[in-house]
Symmetry: C2
Subunit: 308 residues, 2 copies
DNA sequence: CTGCTAATATAAGTAAAACTTATGGATAAA
DNA sequence: TTTATCCATAAGTTTTACTTATATTAGCAG
């Protein structure tokens, strides 16, 4: 054991002072007195026989050697924090970060979070919208909800939702076009969400869709007008929802994206014909996360919410 | 500042116990009592709320979490030691480790070290023979002398010797073959040191040679017998020197490898024709080494020695 | 199986380190 | 020049790291 590590405690004050270039600010951060910081740094300088700070007016600037040591200390402390993180279990209470696609966040997750927050007021949920999967193991993200499925090493993954695909439109469009039979859909503008990678065979998290109007017409057993010119393609679920909300045609949606709007009457589901099993939404988290207790609270609530 | 680093001192005992899987051995290493180690580890376990060791008979085995933390602590402590090393200046007196090729060590360096030791009896020089360059920045080696030149990050490098290349032989061979003119060399066995990587264009430290008899004959302006069958190739300078010392032909040597033997009369230089500039020997050391004071003493002496 | 040795655990006490409060000195700004 | 801000130092207090003594557990040999 390196004898110099006998005075390893002194490095705490050194590190804080180095970052702030100020003993007072360091003392504030550490919730101790300025005099303590001054003495600890002086003790360190005496033990290693190297001047680490030089006074510049009221500030304490690092010497060249002080900078060198500070770099090493920062790395070492970071490594220790990581080690502690890996072995410790955080309490249930605290911040939890959940990531999903922007559409899922705004159309499904965020409109439901008030229920979670009512039940668990000591857990603050941060919803992080992201167009692609974020690593739950090497970031501060705790839970990811993604459309599709993909093998991710050392990450727990389960099916959260199997979402039917069906057409929705506004009540206005329903009335104007008299949509009493599936064939009548051919009278409308057809809105379809496409996967902008244009690769239906891709295996992994994708956005947004693996189904088209063509699939739905096949299921309904009716011919699709082959020279149908009234169609529009969008690249996110939210765009499609917003289109039909404003009275623009009929949208082949993923159920969960429209569920709250159907319940509120803002949109209607003209026909009880849906593609099943439709989309899979997966739930992912790191079982070895220090925040596993918090993650479990949230994911349990999620699953319960989906049964109601 | 991570609050857990408040108890950073406890990690010293943890680290020693983890390495030894024994509190008693850890105590011995740290020169404290077993009871202190036991209590420090217990305190750490209480603060982080994780069991780090499990008792197996008389041994203390790391738990899975203990192993995880131990890995991080080892890295962090290593980083801190490195930081201390980089800022601390060791005194002039102490051990200095010098590395060079085996041939250079035995033929040039070691035969001269007695002079250095006479002048600086408090600096103990350890000559480390190595066939390849050893990193002076991340090892305990202080000074490297290598043939050739190569860019090494954060390492001071300068030319130590520009060594002429010329033929040497034993006085006996000189007399037997009557080598009074360069053409007479064709009567002898020609010994040549080759670079066993067989890549003359390689940029970096190489061993041993970038020159051949062909080069020397060109310089001397005489034709080399094209079907010369009396030749031998060796892969180190020392082999070549030993060959001619035993009366075997004539060797195209690097000056410094034969200098002391020429001065003593054991070998002779038949002709005053030499390839110049010949080989470059470089001196390398880490300017940020804690032993820089000692390194400077040695390198200054080296350069002085070469001017005499 | 018994007795002994080796190793860790725990309790009480001591020594050293980390911190506090009070005050002085230096620098910057008004 | 005065005032405010920041670090340095001294003396005292609190906390942590260590000691010694003893208890407990495990392993080994006869």
């Amino acid at each position: 054991m390196d004898k110099r590590l006998r005075h390893i405690s002194l490095l705490r004050c050194f590190d804080a002072a180095a970052r702030h270039q100020s003993y007072s600010l360091a003392a504030e951060e550490l919730s101790i007195s300025q005099a303590a910081v001054s003495q600890q740094v002086r003790n360190l300088e005496e033990h290693v026989q190297v001047k680490l700070f030089s006074r510049e007016g009221r500030a304490m600037r690092l010497t060249k050697q002080g900078k060198t040591l500070s770099n090493s200390v920062t790395k070492a402390f970071s490594e220790l924090s990581l080690g502690f993180d890996r072995i410790q279990i955080e309490p249930e209470n605290g911040v939890l970060t959940v990531t999903a696609s922007p559409s899922f966040c705004s159309r499904w997750l965020v409109p439901r979070l008030w229920k979670f927050s009512s039940l668990y007021p000591d857990i603050q949920v941060r919803a992080l919208a992201s167009a692609q999967y974020e690593d739950v193991r090497h970031s501060e993200i705790d839970v990811a909800i993604r459309q599709g499925e993909k093998q991710v090493d050392n990450v727990h993954q389960e099916t959260l939702i199997l979402d039917p695909i069906f057409p929705v439109c506004s009540p206005k469009v329903l009335e104007e076009h008299g949509l009493t039979s599936p064939e009548h859909i051919n009278k409308c503008w057809l809105v379809e969400a496409i996967d902008h990678t244009c690769n239906k065979a891709s295996n992994g998290f994708n956005s947004p869709n693996g189904f088209s109007w063509h699939d739905w017409f096949n299921l309904a057993g009716i011919p699709m007008n082959q020279d149908h010119h009234k169609w529009m393609e969008v690249t996110t679920w939210e765009m499609g929802i917003n289109a039909v909300l404003s009275g623009h045609g009929i949208f082949l949606t993923s159920g969960c994206m429209a569920q709250d709007l159907i319940e509120s009457g803002a949109l209607v589901k003209p026909f009880d014909i849906q593609i099943e099993p439709g989309l899979k939404f997966s739930l992912l988290y790191d079982e070895e996360s220090p925040r596993i207790a918090r993650i479990n609270v949230f994911t349990d609530w999620l699953k319960q919410e989906l049964q109601n």
